[in-house]
C-alpha cells in the first residue's frame, strides 16, 4: 500500500524512465537485432546532435526562456563551416589546421548566434518566442542563400580526413556518443550543483524573487542562450563529418524535437525546474520511436508522426501530479 503510494508520488520522476524501458522492451520483442551493438550505437550516435542541443535547451527553458532558432542555427553554422573549410582548402591546402579552424569557427559562430538571441531578449526585451521565431527564419534563409538553394558539400579529401570525428571513437564507442555523454554529465552537475543552475531555476520560478535576491537576472539569462549557442556549435562539429554536407533541410524541426525532449524529460515548459538527465531520456525516447518504426512493418509509415505524438503526450500526462487541488 505504502509502496504503491510511493510509486504514485514518484511517477512524475520516473515516468520518462518507464516510457524508455517500455520502448526498449517493445524493441526486443519486435526484432532480435534491436539489441545488437550496431543498432544501439546507431541510435545513440544519431541522438547526439539533438541531444547536445537539448541539454542547452534545458537551461534556457528552466530559466523561463525558449529558443526556436536552434535547428536553423545548426544548419547555418554547418553551412558556414563547410563553406569556409572549402575556401581554406583552396588557399591552405588540406590538413589538420583547416579542420581545427573549421571547428573553432563553428563554436565561435554558435556562441555569437546565441549571444545575439540572448542580448535581444534580455536587453531589448523582445519576447523569446517571437525573437527566436524571427532568427529561425533568418538563419534558415541564410543557409539556403549560402548553398545557392542546393547543398554545400565538404571537399572529398577533407571529408575523408574529418570523417573519424563522427565514425571513429575509442574502445568501440563513437565520438558523438562520448561527447554527448560527457556533456550530459557536465550539464546535470551544472544544473544541480552549481550556482548557475540554481539561478536558472530561481529565475524561471519567479524572476522578481531572483532579482530581489541579488541574482543578476539578465546575465544568467544571457548566459543560457550563449551556452545553447555553444552547444549548437558542438553538435554541428559532430554533424558535419557524418554526411559532409549541409542544405536548406539540415536541422529541420530540430528545435521542436529538442523542446519535446526537454519537456518529456520532466523540465517545466514555463520554467523553474529542469533536469538534464530527464532531457537525455527524452531524446532517447524520441530516437527510439523512429528506430522501432524503421525496424518493423507493423505500423504504416504514414503514421510515424502520430506514434511520436502519442508517446510525447503520454510521457507528459504521466508526469502530471495526480489529485491536484481543484
Amino acid at each position: 500500500m505504502s509502496t504503491l503510494r510511493n510509486m504514485r508520488q514518484n511517477l512524475p520522476v520516473i515516468a520518462p524512465i518507464v516510457a524508455l524501458v517500455v520502448l526498449i522492451l517493445i524493441g526486443i520483442a519486435l526484432n532480435p537485432n534491436f539489441l545488437s551493438y550496431a543498432n544501439i550505437t546507431n541510435v545513440l550516435a544519431r541522438s547526439a546532435f539533438i541531444g547536445i542541443i537539448a541539454i542547452g535547451m534545458t537551461f534556457v527553458i528552466t530559466a523561463g526562456g525558449l529558443d526556436l532558432s536552434v535547428g536553423s542555427m545548426a544548419a547555418f553554422v554547418a553551412g558556414l563551416m563547410i563553406l569556409v573549410m572549402n575556401l581554406l582548402t583552396d588557399s591552405m591546402g588540406q590538413g589538420l589546421p583547416v579542420i581545427l579552424i573549421g571547428i573553432a569557427l563553428a563554436l565561435g559562430v554558435g556562441i555569437l548566434a546565441g549571444f545575439i538571441n540572448g542580448i535581444l531578449i534580455t536587453r531589448a526585451g523582445i519576447e523569446a518566442f517571437i525573437l527566436t521565431l524571427g532568427t529561425m527564419g533568418i538563419y534558415r534563409s541564410l543557409v539556403t542563400w549560402l548553398a545557392d538553394g542546393g547543398t554545400l558539400s565538404l571537399g572529398y579529401e577533407m571529408r575523408e580526413m574529418y570523417r573519424p570525428v563522427y565514425y571513429g571513437g575509442i574502445m568501440g564507442i563513437s565520438w558523438p556518443i562520448i561527447v554527448f555523454a560527457a556533456l550530459a554529465i557536465l550539464g546535470e552537475i551544472t544544473m544541480r550543483h552549481t550556482a548557475f543552475g540554481r539561478h536558472c531555476a530561481a529565475i524561471g520560478s519567479n524572476e522578481k524573487v531572483a532579482r530581489y535576491s541579488s541574482v543578476s537576472v539578465t546575465r544568467v539569462k544571457l548566459a543560457t542562450y550563449v551556452l545553447l549557442g555553444l552547444l549548437v556549435g558542438i553538435a554541428v562539429v559532430m554533424y558535419v563529418p557524418r554526411l559532409g554536407s549541409a542544405s536548406a533541410t539540415t536541422g529541420l524541426l530540430w528545435e521542436l524535437e529538442a523542446i519535446a525532449a526537454v519537456i518529456i524529460g520532466g523540465t517545466l515548459l514555463k520554467g523553474g525546474f529542469g533536469r538534464v538527465w530527464g532531457t537525455v531520456v527524452g531524446v532517447l525516447i524520441l530516437s527510439l520511436i523512429g528506430n522501432l518504426l524503421n525496424l518493423t512493418d507493423v505500423v504504416s509509415p504514414y503514421l510515424n508522426g502520430a506514434i511520436q505524438g502519442v508517446v510525447i503526450i503520454l510521457a507528459v500526462v504521466l508526469q502530471r501530479n495526480t489529485g491536484t487541488a481543484r
Binding site: 550556482a195 540554481r198 530561481a202 520560478s205 519567479n206 530581489y212 541574482v215 481543484r326
Partner: protein, 501 residues
C-alpha cells in the same frame, strides 16, 4: 437567535496521516459577523476552505440550512450562495473590472455577450460599495483595496448568503479598512452571514459580533465579542499570557551609517533624504502608495534612481542590488510571495539563493547549505513539518521568518524591513519584534516600514513619514505618536498642537 445558515459539526480534517483539525463545531448565522482568529497554522484556512467547498472534511458534517451537505466543489458552494474571498485575489489581471465580476457567468443576449448590462450591473454594485473604480478599467491597473472591493462586488453579484473573507484587511490601510467595514456592516444589515479572519484584534473587537479562537486545530473558545477583551483573545490564541508585545526601545548612536540624499524615482519618490544612525531603529510611515517602498527599493539598488546613497563612507551605485548587498545593506520586501520567496522551491534553496557563491564554487556544497538551514531554523524558530517541503506550503509566519533568515544571511550592517509582520499571527509578531530589537542591540541599524501604527511606535525611536512621494516630516522620542504620524501621512503639519493631546 436565528438558525444557522451554514455550520460545521464535529469536523475533522487530515492530510495524509496528519490530522489538522480535531472536531470543529462552528455556526454562521444570518446577519452576524463572525470572526475566526488563531495563530498561523492553527487551522483557520482549512476551516474556511471546508466551509466554502474547496476541501472535503475527513470526519463530521457540513450543514447548510440545518441539512448535511457534501459540496461537490467550490462551484456548487458558490451556486448555493457560499462565497469565499481569498487573501490572494482571484482576479484575472488583464481583464476589466466588469469582465472579472461576471467571469464564468457572463450575461448574454442570444449568443452574444451583453456588455452593456454587465457594465451597468457592475457599476451598480460598485456604487453600492462606494467604490469609485471604473467598471471598464483593467484590474491590473487598480489599487489593492479596489481589488478587494471588486472581489466583494463579485460576491454580491452572486447573491451571497454566506461571505467568507480571509484576512481582507491585511493589505489595507486603516482608512481603507474603515470603508470595508462600512460595507461589511451594510451586508450584515441585509442578513448576510459573514465569516472573517484577521490578525488585527482591534478590528475584530470593532466589527465582529462573535469571535471563535482556534489553536492547533482545536476550538479553544467561542464568545460574543462584547464579552471578551483583546488580551483575552490574544491569550487564547497563543495559549499563554502575552507579556508586553514590544521589547524595550534602544536609541542608537549619533554616528551616521547610511545617508540617502535627494533620492528621486521618477513619478513616485520626489527628492527624499534621510539618515540612519548606527544601532538605531528608524521607522518610515505613510499611507500605502506614498512612496515608502519605492524609496527603500531605490536605496537598496532595486530601482533606477537619481541622488546618492552612502553606506559607511561608500557610495552605492544606483540599480545594483548585488553591490548594495556586498556593501552590507539588505532589503526585506513587503511582497513576500511575489518578490521574497520562491514558493515552489524548498527552504534550503530559498535561504541560500542570495549568497550561493559562498556555499562553494564551482559546486555548491550541500552540507554547508544544510548547516545554514539548521542554524536558520534554530535561530529564527522556523516551524516546518518537513525540510524538503515547498515554501509555499509553510504558514505565513514561518515564511516571514525564513525570509528574514534569508535577508540576514549576508550579515548586513543595515537592514531595511518592509512590513515586517504583514499577515502573520501575534505570537510570531512578537518573535519578530524581539529579533529586530536584538539586531539593533548587536549594533546593526534597521529601517522598519509599516502601515501599522503600533508597530512603528513600538519599535522605532525615530519615524520619518512620507506623503505623496516626499518626506513630510520626522518625529523622534516622545513625539512618535499615532496622531503625529497620521497628520504627517495625511499631508498636515505634524508639529501641530493636536498631536500632544
Amino acid at each position: 437567535m436565528t438558525d444557522p445558515v451554514l455550520a460545521l459539526d464535529g469536523v475533522t480534517k487530515s492530510f495524509g496521516p496528519i490530522e489538522i483539525l480535531h472536531g470543529v463545531d462552528f455556526a454562521l448565522r444570518p446577519g452576524e459577523v463572525h470572526a475566526l482568529i488563531g495563530e498561523n497554522g492553527a487551522g483557520k484556512s482549512t476551516t474556511m476552505k471546508i466551509l466554502a467547498g474547496y476541501l472535503d472534511p475527513t470526519g463530521g458534517q457540513v450543514k447548510l440550512d440545518g441539512k448535511p451537505i457534501g459540496f461537490s466543489g467550490s462551484d456548487q458552494a458558490e451556486d448555493l450562495g457560499v462565497i469565499m474571498i481569498h487573501q490572494e485575489f482571484n482576479l484575472a489581471e488583464h481583464l476589466s473590472v466588469d469582465q472579472n465580476v461576471f467571469l464564468g457567468r457572463e450575461l448574454t443576449k442570444g449568443w452574444r455577450l451583453d456588455h452593456k448590462s454587465m457594465r451597468q450591473r457592475t457599476a451598480d454594485l460598485l456604487k453600492r460599495l462606494h467604490c469609485k473604480v471604473d467598471p471598464g478599467a483593467r484590474v491590473s491597473g487598480i489599487s489593492v483595496p479596489d481589488k478587494q472591493m471588486v472581489e466583494i462586488a463579485k460576491a454580491l453579484s452572486r447573491k451571497a448568503r454566506v461571505l467568507i473573507m480571509d484576512e481582507p484587511t491585511a493589505v489595507l490601510t486603516e482608512r481603507e479598512t474603515e470603508i470595508l467595514f462600512e460595507q461589511v456592516e451594510r451586508l450584515r444589515a441585509e442578513g448576510v452571514a459573514i465569516l472573517y479572519t484577521s490578525h488585527k484584534l482591534g478590528e475584530v473587537k470593532r466589527i465582529a459580533d462573535r469571535v471563535t479562537v482556534l489553536r492547533d486545530g482545536t476550538m479553544v473558545r467561542s464568545d460574543l465579542t462584547a464579552d471578551v477583551t483583546e488580551d483575552d483573545m490574544a491569550a487564547a490564541m497563543v495559549g499563554r499570557e502575552l507579556s508586553d508585545l514590544f521589547p524595550p526601545k534602544l536609541t542608537g548612536s549619533d554616528e551616521p551609517i547610511l545617508t540617502a540624499r535627494n533620492i528621486t524615482v521618477p513619478g513616485i519618490v520626489d527628492d527624499a533624504s534621510l539618515t540612519l544612525h548606527k544601532g538605531e531603529v528608524l521607522g518610515i510611515g505613510g499611507l500605502v502608495g506614498s512612496g515608502r517602498t519605492e524609496l527603500a527599493e531605490a536605496i537598496a539598488g532595486l530601482r533606477p534612481r537619481s541622488g546618492t546613497v552612502t553606506l559607511m563612507d561608500r557610495d552605492l551605485p544606483a540599480g545594483d542590488v548585488a553591490q548594495a548587498m556586498k556593501a552590507g545593506l539588505a532589503y526585506l520586501t513587503e511582497d513576500r510571495k511575489g518578490a521574497g520567496l520562491l514558493l515552489d522551491k524548498s527552504l534550503r534553496e530559498n535561504l541560500t539563493l542570495p549568497l550561493l557563491e559562498t556555499f562553494g564554487s564551482p559546486l555548491i556544497e550541500r552540507k554547508r547549505e544544510d548547516a545554514a538551514l539548521d542554524r536558520a531554523i534554530e535561530d529564527f524558530a522556523i516551524r516546518a513539518p518537513a525540510r524538503d517541503m515547498a515554501v509555499g506550503d509553510l504558514s505565513g509566519g514561518n515564511q516571514q521568518k525564513l525570509l528574514l533568515a534569508k535577508t540576514l544571511l549576508s550579515n548586513p550592517q543595515v537592514v531595511i524591513i518592509d512590513e515586517p509582520t504583514r499577515g502573520i499571527d501575534i505570537g510570531t509578531k512578537q518573535q519578530i519584534y524581539t529579533l529586530i530589537a536584538k539586531l539593533a542591540a548587536e549594533g546593526r541599524s534597521i529601517i522598519v516600514i509599516s502601515s501599522e501604527m503600533p508597530e512603528l511606535i513600538g519599535l522605532a525611536s525615530r519615524v520619518v513619514v512620507m506623503h505623496a512621494g516626499r518626506i513630510a516630516g520626522e518625529l523622534a522620542g516622545a513625539d512618535v505618536t499615532e496622531g503625529g504620524i497620521v497628520r504627517l501621512a495625511m499631508g498636515m503639519d505634524g508639529t501641530s498642537k493636536d498631536s500632544a493631546a
